[in-house]
């Protein structure tokens, strides 16, 4: 099994190299085949590795080479595979493969089709590096690498300037988080003298709970996670990142990259468990993000924007789970979310494809009859994210809510409200897009068509996974067995809440969910399915529709003052720094110009200079001058 491990990230790297070098010299079909094959092979190896991990609790470390060494500081490029990694391997390569296949259909008419696959393969490589590294530095390489790919893919259609700005925004917001991550890594190194996960873990016995260094380090690491996983206040880049092609939104900005923050916190859970303050902080940030994003999503008219804010909200949910110590629930939600959110994005892509690029919900309507397969799979996605009983989303959310309930009642009520809001805006989306009558142009209506098999096949697979994915973690009372939780137990033990009324609470929640969903269904049907919705908001609704004016506030608070100050720094840079550097150059030139006149060409002068020098030397030496 060990010999397969390095091959997992190697395949997409080879794919990237081949595609990148071949460029447009190979056909689109060929490029798609190469790109998909690389990921497919990785997926097969990931399955083998996962299978081997099922039977053991031992982690496997595979050292590739000594990356660098300075004094006692040594970093190896090594891969660590344990239960957590093997789950992420499956998510990344599995969902990645489906989205690769989907892209071959979705991007088929794009002129830069081959470049797209090049970037996608590179992304998968970095993502695998991120989840496979056995130390923080290798993880950081992957972390930065996926950030780069995200940047490249958001700005993929670089001829539209707004998209480039969105790419820049994503990159810059992430840099802010990455600075925190880097500082956190530095701090961990000064504390432990190593960056290796296992070595750090073995040092922890000496550390007290609440050690200030640990608290600061974990907070800094979490700032990195806030950037990458788009938590408030570093969340503003993710909605704009929808500028990228839809498969990118599905793969990078829903299923994999944005969950890197969750992976990092779970990977470091042994450190986080020593910092209760940080955990509480994470829970609060997660809760705020979940709530704020859900309220924004209520008033979005762009199909991808709704899904983007929904992703923010779900990421908040995951952090809430981590914050209350339910690590395995967080990871489980990462997995189910990867299924249903990828499904929803790909479904939205299929809708956009059918609508000839139109993303505005107000122009859609009545699509359920035109593109039935997309509709059915999309419906399953909506049900899953809304928490329809026994779908994957139900199981994972239920578990998070339970853990939160035992942690803090207030958190629980807010989180439950978020679940209801989620169901509402997803139903709203469904109603606007698929019910009522078609509101687009005549030409669009003429072009409406179901997507090709390469696009619908991944939808079907993901729909099945969204429906049945929860069964691996079904609570006892419904006759299930928490397989997933037990599998992750060796990485992050989950707190057990045993309570006499547990079963009653579960049944109550099931009942409330069902009732809620019915109410939501009728409400949304009433408001949004009759084509009278105009999509114009006033008052507080307008504030929500505009993302609480976060962008405008940041613009006033940070961008404008910085621009103002930078005028003066610019002048300082040009006059003082450039002037200084140029001045030194000019001084040397001037010196060269003047000194060369010493070389007069007269032998007499030369001899005189020699004699003078010898005399000076003698004086210096005899009288010990200087």
């Amino acid at each position: 099994m060990e010999q397969f491990i390095p091959l997992i990230p190697l395949m997409p790297l080879i794919g990237f190299a081949v595609l990148g070098l071949a460029g447009n010299n190979i056909s689109k079909l060929m490029a798609a085949i190469i790109g998909c094959t690389a990921i497919a092979v990785s997926f097969v190896f990931s399955l083998l590795v996962f299978n081997a991990q099922l039977g053991t609790e031992e982690s496997v470390t595979v050292t590739m080479f000594n990356w660098f060494e300075a004094g006692s500081f040594k970093v190896e490029l090594a891969f660590l595979v344990d239960h957590l990694t093997s789950i992420f391997l499956l998510i990344v390569t599995g969902v990645g493969l489906l989205i690769h296949i989907y892209s071959s259909g979705y991007m088929h008419d794009d002129i830069a089709h081959n470049r797209f696959f090049t970037y996608l393969n590179l992304f998968i490589f970095f993502m695998l590096l991120l989840v496979m590294g056995n130390n923080y530095l290798v993880m950081f390489i992957g972390w930065e690498g996926v950030g780069l790919c995200s940047y490249l893919l958001i700005g993929f259609w670089h001829k539209v300037d707004a998209y480039n700005k969105a790419a820049n925004k994503a990159f810059i917001m992430n840099r802010i988080g990455d600075l925190g991550l880097l500082l956190g890594i530095f701090l961990l190194y000064t504390k432990f003298g190593t960056l290796n996960f296992i070595d750090i873990k073995s040092h922890l016995a000496e550390i007290q709970v609440g050690d200030p260094t640990i608290v600061v380090a974990t907070l800094l690491l979490f700032i990195g996670a806030m950037g990458k996983s788009a938590q408030i206040p570093l969340h503003t880049w993710l909605p704009d990142a929808m500028a990228g092609p839809t498969p990118v939104s599905a793969l990078i900005h829903a299923a994999t990259m944005v969950t890197a923050g969750i992976y990092m916190v779970v990977r470091s859970n042994f450190i986080y468990s020593l910092a209760p303050f940080t955990l509480e902080f994470i829970a609060i940030i997660g809760l705020i993000t979940a709530f704020v994003a859900a309220t924004i999503a209520l008033f979005q008219n762009d199909i991808k924007k709704v899904l983007a804010y929904s992703t923010l909200s779900q990421l908040g949910y995951m952090f809430l789970a981590l914050g209350v110590g339910a690590y395995s629930s967080g990871v489980f939600h990462v997995m189910t979310h990867a299924f249903f959110k990828a499904l929803l994005f790909l479904g939205a892509g299929s809708v956009i494809h059918a609508m000839s690029g139109e993303q505005d919900l107000l122009k859609m309507g009545g699509l359920r009859k035109k593109i039935p397969l997309t509709f059915i799979t999309f419906l399953i996605g909506v049900l899953a994210i809304s928490g329809f009983p026994f779908t994957s989303g139900f199981v994972s959310k239920d578990e998070i809510l339970m853990s939160v309930f035992y942690h803090n009642k207030l958190y629980f009520y807010i989180a439950a409200a978020v679940a209801v809001i989620t169901a509402f805006y997803m139903m709203r989306l469904l109603m606007l897009a698929f019910f009522g009558t078609f509101r687009g142009t005549h030409e669009q209506e003429h072009h409406l068509h179901e997507s090709p098999a390469s696009m619908t096949m991944p939808l079907v697979v993901l729909a099945i996974l969204s429906m049945l994915g929860g069964l691996v973690q079904l609570p006892h009372i419904y006759g299930g067995k928490p397989i997933f939780e037990e599998f992750l137990n060796s990485i992050a033990p989950t707190l057990k809440h045993e309570d006499a009324s547990l079963a009653m609470k579960e049944w109550l929640m099931l009942g409330v969910t069902c009732l809620g969903l019915v109410v939501v269904y009728f409400l949304t049907k009433k408001f949004y399915a009759d084509d009278k919705f105009e999509g114009v908001y006033t008052g507080f609704k307008k504030t929500l529709a505009n993302n609480y004016y976060f962008d405008e506030i940041y613009n006033t608070l940070f961008t404008k003052p910085l621009n103002f100050i930078s005028q003066y720094y610019n002048a300082f840079d040009r006059l003082v720094i450039d002037g200084g550097v140029d001045g030194i150059g000019k001084l040397v030139n001037w010196g060269g110009d003047k000194l060369r006149y010493l070389q007069t060409g007269y032998t007499g002068f030369y001899l005189f200079a020699m004699v003078l020098s010898i005399a000076a030397f003698l004086i210096i030496s005899l009288f010990n001058l200087l």
Binding site: G585, V588, N589, G591, G592, D593, L595, R596, L598, Q599, G601, T603, F605, Y606, L607, A609, M610, S613, I614, A616, F617, L618, I620, S621, L622, L625, L626
Partner: protein, 463 residues
């Protein structure tokens, strides 16, 4: 000792060739002889049977230091003869030139192996007098005549100072034998007298002249640019190596403890060489003058090894520096020679314009050589500078290291002037420059040497 005998015999054989009329054969014979000399040297290199100076009337000793530098000088000499094969094409002067070069080589050998001040003086003179003549070997050129006259006048002046210094040291110690001097100066009851100090400073000044360190460098730019390019490259490589090795040997054998007392003098020599060499080079438009100033700045680096004599790596650093410097300079002069001969003897920097298009191999070799001189990794020049600076840092001269780095930064500027000319400027003459097979293989060989010798440190650890 074998080296001296072999090369001196070759020199005499060359003179006989004139008389017995086998001139056509003589150049191949000399090449074979020099190659044989290297083979003999390599075969004997590991033998413990070094010549003891008791066998040579306490004049010459084949210790490891002498052995290493003799090998280096032999290889430089062989490569130089191959590089400048056509320097000997003039029928009338062929044997004279060749004999002078061979005797100069013998002088170089004496300079790196002496154990007696008399032998040091003889070595320097045996090397210098052929150089005075060769500097003027382009008899019809006014500048060549100027070069030879200036070199001779100033060289004899320096020789006078050298003799003066040796005499004063003899006066205060009572011996010409370096190990006697060392024993006397190391003993407890030795006090430094003014006579001894004046003697040492005179010696330093004379040797500084021979290695063309500022402020005794004035002869170098005029002589380098006036002499034929072949002779200049011999001066810049062989003579410079022999002279710095003799300078170093003076202090490791005769007064190893004295260097601390005269370190102020060395500070001045080093800083002046680094700055005058690099700064004046900035404004030069003549490639040979530019390389002359650049060689002055390299001397500043080499002298660091003398200053930090007590460091374990000082000998290694100097040996590696001279090796890297010599081969780099040989390569640069080979390119300059070919290019300037192609431009009917013009050696202005503008002859390099557009060389990359006219002959990529020449431009590539020149680029590698210049980058190595500037100290860009992973070329040997980088490792040479690195070793020197690391040694100085260990010795506690942080400020000197900073000055050296600043000065060599200036160097990057003027080395790149030539590189930019080769790659971005357009030439007035765009015909390709033809190369003979010998020239091509030498260019490739030198390029490989420059690139690789620094990598695993075997040259560094030879000595």
């Amino acid at each position: 000792m074998n080296e001296i005998i072999i090369v001196a015999s070759l020199g005499i054989l060359t003179l006989l060739a004139e008389i017995f009329n086998f001139k056509k054969l003589i150049l191949p014979l000399v090449v074979a002889g020099l190659a044989a000399n290297i083979v003999v040297g390599i075969m004997e290199f590991d033998l413990a049977s070094y010549y003891n100076d008791a066998d040579t009337l306490r004049m010459i000793e084949s210790d490891l230091y002498a052995k290493c530098f003799m090998m280096l000088l032999s290889i430089i000499a062989l490569v130089w003869v191959l590089v400048n094969y056509n320097f000997f094409s003039d029928e009338t002067n062929q044997t004279d030139h060749l004999a002078l070069i061979l005797f100069a080589i013998v002088g170089g050998f004496c300079m790196v192996a002496y154990t007696n001040f008399v032998m040091l003086f003889l070595g320097i003179e045996i090397l210098s007098i052929p150089m005075y003549v060769l500097a003027g070997s382009n008899k019809r050129s006014l500048r060549s005549n100027e070069a030879t006259l200036k070199y001779f006048l100033m060289g004899s002046f320096a020789t006078g100072i050298l003799l003066f210094g040796i005499t004063l040291i003899y006066g205060s110690i009572g011996s010409f034998y370096v190990y006697d001097v060392r024993m006397k100066t190391a003993s407890v009851d030795f006090t430094i007298t003014p006579m001894f100090t004046i003697g040492v400073v005179m010696l330093i000044a004379a040797m500084a002249f021979k290695v063309s360190s500022a402020p005794f460098h004035f002869w170098a730019p005029d002589v380098y640019s006036g002499s034929p390019t072949s002779v200049t490259s011999f001066m810049a490589t062989f003579v410079k190596t022999a002279a710095i090795a003799a300078f170093m040997r003076l202090f490791i054998t005769a007064f190893p403890t004295a260097i601390e007392s005269y370190k102020n003098v060395f500070f001045i020599l080093i800083i002046a060489s680094l700055f005058i060499g690099n700064i004046i080079a900035v404004f030069q438009t003549n490639a040979k003058r530019l390389l002359a100033y650049s060689s002055i700045s390299h001397v500043g680096f080499m002298l660091l090894a003398l200053l930090c004599l007590s460091e374990a790596t000082s000998l290694k650093s100097l040996f590696f520096y001279t090796t890297a410097y010599s081969f780099t300079t040989l390569a640069a002069f080979l390119v300059l020679k070919i290019v300037s001969e192609n431009a009917s003897g013009d050696d202005d920097i503008s002859v390099f314009n557009g060389l990359a298009q006219r002959n990529p191999l020449l431009a590539g070799t020149m680029t590698i050589a210049l980058l190595s001189m500037a100290g860009i990794p992973p070329l040997s020049g980088f490792f040479a500078k690195y070793n020197m600076l690391f040694m100085a840092l260990n010795h506690g001269y942080l400020w000197l290291v900073i000055i050296a780095i600043l000065a060599s930064l200036v160097g990057v500027y003027y080395y790149f002037k030539i590189i930019i000319a080769m790659f971005t400027r357009n030439s007035t003459d765009s015909t390709a420059i033809p190369l003979s097979l010998l020239q091509k293989s030498l260019l490739v060989l030198l390029m490989l040497i420059i690139i690789t010798i620094g990598w695993n440190g075997w040259v560094f650890n030879l000595i």
